[in-house]
């Protein structure tokens, strides 16, 4: 085995205090990156949570609708135009909209109501904890998620509240149906949604299209696009991408999270660079000796890069440990941090890249070493 790794390891571990400072610096900067990225992934997932859970082959959306939360309305006639096409089995209206929840204490909070269909073809709540899907057929029945019990001041089936001055009763509770906005999703019956949001009988927010067995969704989408006037036809993927683009890129929310990650990376890079530079300065005579006895630049760079990699791996392990704790701690909250295997791998690669780039300053310092200095000390 080459002595370069041994020399790098010993140089790094010789000053324990500096090593701890480096590892903590890298660790916390990567924890910040992990959390920001975890929030970003969580944000992206939550943006399309309703689209992902709707049993739709195609979506008919108001022309120019930017996301699932878009307040525009469709005309009911579009439904019949769609139904008239061979291959379309069913077209289910879906009414959604913003509303106000008044808790028994009188406190109000904005919510986003989803007019869940009673039939399987609609958009129904999932991950039920209490109650049954059929209970949403009862007038004034609602389903809420346990993440929002505090916000809605409600914690169990049977409790009452008001939505836009209409009395409702919690008959279902769910787990993990969270909104990326501050407004909880509340499932209600389609009729209640229409009444509470003031949606006229001939209007709807979306149509969920179901196709006959064996029909190609893209073909039907293209045909529907020529038939529908004030509507767009999108596959679930297309609608999901459009929603993500709007919320992630259009609102600046995604940019803010990415900027946070970038800042964390810069802080991490500076910490590692400073440490490696200072370590290199402390060992300058050793590097000069290496140069004097004929070492190539490559050998010296190898020593510094190995130091950087060791710092990266130790820092990453710390970050991963803390990151997993944060994931665990936020799992049941309204703002969960998600850490996927792919994301973990990315964080590891970014940590390594950051540390290696940080070595540049130290390498430049070493490359300027005059080996003659070994004679002057």
């Amino acid at each position: 085995m080459s002595l370069a790794p041994k020399l790098a390891f010993r140089n790094l571990f010789q000053d324990r205090l500096r090593l701890i400072a480096t590892v903590v610096g890298i660790g916390f900067s990567m924890v910040l990156v992990t959390i920001q990225m975890g929030l970003y992934v969580s944000f992206e997932t939550m943006v399309t949570v309703m689209i992902d859970h709707a049993n739709a082959d195609l979506w008919i959306v108001p022309r120019g609708a930017k996301s699932f939360e878009d307040p525009s309305l469709l005309d009911e006639r579009e439904r019949f135009r769609a139904l008239s096409l061979d291959g379309v089995r069913d077209v289910v209206p879906l009414v959604v909209g913003f509303a106000r929840w008044r808790a028994p204490s009188g406190a109000t909070t904005p919510i986003f109501i989803v007019g869940a269909g009673r039939r399987e073809d609609g958009l129904q709540p999932w991950n039920l904890i209490e109650g049954s899907l059929e209970s949403l057929a009862i007038p004034g029945a609602v389903a809420i998620d346990q993440s929002y019990f505090d916000r809605l001041e409600t914690s169990r089936v049977g409790e009452s509240a008001e939505i836009n001055d209409r009395r409702v009763q919690v008959l279902e509770t769910t787990r993990g149906i969270r909104s990326f906005t501050t407004m909880p999703y509340v499932f209600v019956s389609p009729d209640f949604a229409r009444a509470a949001t003031g949606t006229p009988p001939n209007k709807t927010s979306y149509f969920i299209v179901h196709l006959a067995e064996g029909i190609n969704a893209t073909d039907i989408r293209n045909q529907l696009r020529t038939r529908l006037i004030d509507a767009e036809v999108l596959t679930p993927d297309e609608f999901g991408r459009r929603s993500k683009t709007f919320w992630v890129s259009g609102t600046g929310a995604g940019a803010a999270l990415l900027m946070g990650s970038l800042l964390a990376l810069i802080v991490g890079t500076v910490i590692v660079a400073q440490t490696l530079y200072s370590s290199t300065k402390d060992h300058l005579h050793e590097f000069a000796t290496l140069r004097a006895i004929g070492s190539s630049s490559g050998y010296i760079i190898e020593v510094i890069i190995i130091q950087a990699l060791l710092s990266a791996v130790i820092g990453f392990c710390l970050a991963a440990g803390i990151g997993l704790s944060v994931v665990w701690a936020t799992a049941a909250t309204a703002l969960p941090v998600i850490m996927t295997p792919a994301m973990t791998l990315i964080v590891l690669l970014v940590t390594i890249l950051m540390s290696v780039l940080s070595a540049a300053m130290a390498i430049m310092k070493v490359m300027r070493i005059d080996p003659v200095m070994v004679f002057t000390r």
């Binding site: 085995m1 080459s2 002595l3 370069a4 041994k6 020399l7 010993r10 140089n11 010789q14 005579h285 050793e286 000796t289 290496l290 140069r291 004097a292 006895i293 004929g294 070492s295 190539s296 630049s297 050998y299 005059d370 080996p371 003659v372 070994v374 004679f375 002057t376 000390r377």
Partner: protein, 249 residues
């Protein structure tokens, strides 16, 4: 190789810039042959270290040529000069310059490691040379666990482990007491008995002239004497003294 292992031909060197510019070496000619130990003596500021740096391919001369193992260093890039050093020159420094975090054997091995030699070979060879310098029982010791003389012998082992053509030693006994200095010089003299290897020792120390096959004196950047005759310690002391007096004046 039949010619000199290291040769300086008409070397001149200017140091400093602007008003501080001065000529550190002027028309220096020196050839180090294999199988002999040469002492380069002179007062502080005489140009010894500058000449050693040029001979060690660490400093480029302003004029003249250096030949290492028959190869001219003129026009060579830093990486090529580094290759020349690792293949043909061994260095011994006044402050030893051992790696404090490595054991004695690793400090020696590193000279082979930078050549890309396998660890099996390098360990074997390092053990051999540590035995040659009398440290076979100290292979696992760290520099802080060794005396000054032992550290210098580890440095000598590092210098010779790659079987270089020439050893350049800068004040190798300056930091040592008489006994350790004597031990270190004995090792260097022993190394110089190899006809394929020359040893050049830069020194102020008159106690070590007994080990020299040849003494070269330098003053103000000019070689003032180059003697192969056996020089007594007393003469060397006189030479050293007169240089110092001149320096002070």
């Amino acid at each position: 190789m039949t010619g000199p292992v290291l040769e300086a031909i008409d070397i001149g060197k200017f140091l400093g810039i602007g008003a501080g510019r001065f000529q550190a070496l002027s028309a220096v000619n020196l050839a180090i042959a294999g199988g002999e130990l040469t002492l380069l003596m002179g007062p502080s500021g005489s140009g010894k270290t500058t000449l050693l740096s040029i001979l060690g391919c660490m400093l480029t001369p302003s004029s003249g040529t250096v030949r290492v193992h028959g190869q001219s260093t003129a026009g060579k890039k830093p990486e090529e000069l580094a290759k020349l050093r690792r293949n043909h020159i061994g260095f011994v420094f006044q402050s030893y310059h051992l790696f404090p975090t490595l054991t004695a054997i690793d400090n020696v091995r590193i000279a082979l490691d930078i050549r890309g030699e396998s660890s099996e070979q390098s360990i074997k060879r390092a053990m051999e040379v540590l035995a040659i310098v009398g440290l076979a029982n100290k292979t696992g010791s760290y520099p802080r666990e060794l005396s000054g003389g032992e550290q210098q012998r580890v440095a000598i082992a590092r210098a010779i482990v790659g079987d270089p053509s020439v050893i350049l030693a800068d004040e190798p006994t300056a930091a040592l007491d008489a006994e350790n200095g004597h031990a270190v010089m004995s090792v260097l003299a022993q190394i110089a008995t190899n006809p394929a290897r020359g040893v050049l020792v830069v020194t102020h120390d008159p106690r070590i002239v007994e080990f020299a096959d040849r003494i070269v004196s330098i003053e103000d950047g000019i070689i003032i004497s180059d003697s192969r005759a056996v020089v007594s310690e007393e003469m060397a002391l006189q030479a050293q003294g007169s240089s110092s007096c001149r320096n002070k004046s």
